[in-house]
C-alpha cells in the first residue's frame, strides 16, 4: 500500500516537473543584463534587452525612446515547443481533474439521494466523502 502511494506521488511529481522544466529553460532571463553598459554620469546605458530574456518578445528597443511596438513573439523554437508542451499538459491535466471531479460529483449525488447524510443531523466539515462509520 505504501509503495503504491509513493509510486503515485513520484508519477505526479514527474508530471509536474517535465513541463515546468520545459518552461523554465526558455523563460529564465539571460544572466544579468547584457553587461556592456556604457558608464558615465550622463550617458544612458545602451540597454538592448535581447529577445532571449523571459517569454517571447521580439522587440528591438531604441536606446532613448521606443518607436516600435512590443509584440510578443517567439524568439526561438525552444520557446515555441515549451509553450506547446505546457498547452497540451494543461488541457490533459484539466481533462484528468474534470474526470475525477465528475466521479466525485456522481458519488456526492448518490450519497445525497440515498439520504445517507441528513443536513439537519450531521454537519460535515472537511472531506464530505468520508463515511461516518470507521475509516
Amino acid at each position: 500500500m505504501r509503495g503504491i502511494r509513493i509510486l503515485c506521488l513520484l508519477a505526479m511529481v514527474s508530471l509536474v516537473l517535465t513541463p515546468l522544466a520545459a518552461l523554465q529553460t526558455s523563460t529564465t532571463p539571460a544572466s544579468g543584463p547584457p553587461a556592456k553598459a556604457e558608464v558615465k554620469a550622463g550617458a544612458k546605458p545602451a540597454a538592448a534587452p535581447e529577445a532571449k530574456p523571459a517569454g517571447k518578445p521580439a522587440a528591438t528597443k531604441a536606446p532613448v525612446k521606443r518607436t516600435e511596438p512590443v509584440v510578443p513573439a517567439y524568439s526561438d523554437i525552444k520557446q515555441r515547443s515549451a509553450v506547446i508542451v505546457f498547452y497540451v499538459w494543461l488541457w490533459f491535466s484539466i481533462a484528468v481533474l474534470v474526470y475525477f471531479l465528475l466521479q466525485w460529483v456522481k458519488e456526492a449525488d448518490r450519497v445525497y439521494k440515498a439520504k445517507y447524510y441528513e443536513p439537519e443531523e450531521s454537519p460535515r466539515k472537511g472531506n464530505p466523502m468520508a463515511p461516518a462509520l470507521g475509516e
Binding site: T67, P69, V98
Partner: protein
Amino acid sequence: MKIDLKKFAAWFDDRLALTPIFKYMTKKEIPQHEHSLWYYTGSSILLFLVIQIVTGIMLAFYYKPTLEGANDSIARIMTEMPLGWLVRSIHSWSATFMIAFVMIHMIAIMLTKSYRKPREATWMTGMMLIVVSMIFGFTGYLLPWDDLSLSATKVGTNIPAAIPVVGKWVTQFLRGGDDVTGDTLTRFFIFHVCILPLVIFAILIVHILLVQKEGMSVPLKDEIAKKTVPALPFWPNFVLREVIIWLLLLGTLLTVSLLLAPSLGPSADLLAPAPKGVKPEWYFLFLFQTLKIFPGNIGPVTGEFVAVVIILVGILGIFFVPFLDNKPETIKGRLFTYLTYFGVIYAIVFSIWSLL
C-alpha cells in the same frame, strides 16, 4: 509526531465560531431546473476577479505609474521579467472574460426575473458592481499609456462634460485638470489599484451576503405554481460542479492568453494628433456608437447632451427595474422581457456597427 487536525480545528472553532458557516454551507440548497446553469455565472465572475487581483498585484510590482515610466515599465515587464508577457496577457484577457460574464450574469437575471421581491437590493448592488467593473476596465485601459489608450481616455473623460451643471467638475476630477496629462495617469492608477478595489470589495460583500440571506431564486413559473423544485446541497455537490466549471474557464483563459497575447504600442505623445481607429474597450463600443449617431446639435443643446441623458435614463431604468417590473407574471412582465431582448440586440448590433 502526529498532528491531530481535529484538535487544531477545534482550537479555531472555540475562538472564531466558524462552525455555523460550515453548517450553513451544507444546508444551503441550489434548486435544479432548466435554468440552473446560470447559477454558475456568479462564481465564475469571482474566479476572474481573484485572477485579476493576483495578476494585478504582480504587474503592480514592476509598473511605474508616471508619464515617463509607464509604457517603458510595461515593455520591461513584457521583455525582461520571467513570463511577464503572460502575466500581462492573463490580466488583460481576464478583464474581458470577467466583464463578459458580468453581462451574461445580468442578462440571465433579467430574463429569469430573479430581481423580483425579495431580491431587489441584490439587484441594485449588482448594478453598482457592473458600473464599478466597467470603471475598472476604463481606468486600466489608460495605464499602458500608448496612443490608443490615451485617445480613448480623452474621449471617455470628455463624455461626463455633457452632463449639465456638474459635468465639467466630473471631467476635471477624472482628469486631474482640464486635460489628460501625466496626472491623469497617476490618478487613474490610484483609482484602479486602491479606490476601486476597496469599493468593489465593500459592495461585493453586501451582494454576496444578500444572496446567502435570500437564498437562490427559482424560476417565475415554479414560484407561481408553488411547486417544490428539487434541490442539491451547496456543499459538496454544487461546489464540485463549480470547480469543474472553474477549471474549464481557467483552461480557456490560459489558452487565449498564451495564443493571443496583447502587444504594446510606443509611448503616447500628448501633442500628437489622434490616431486612426480610436475606440474604447469592447464593452463600451455600443455606448460609443450611440454617442456617434447623434447629430452635432439638436435644437438648443448638443447632440452629445441628448445622448448622455438618454443613456443615463436607460441606466437608471435598469437600476430600478425591480420596482418598474413589479408585476412580473402579467403582460407588463412580458414587456420587460422583450425590452431585455431588445437591449441585448441593440448592444450587440451597435457594438458591431461601431467596428465597421
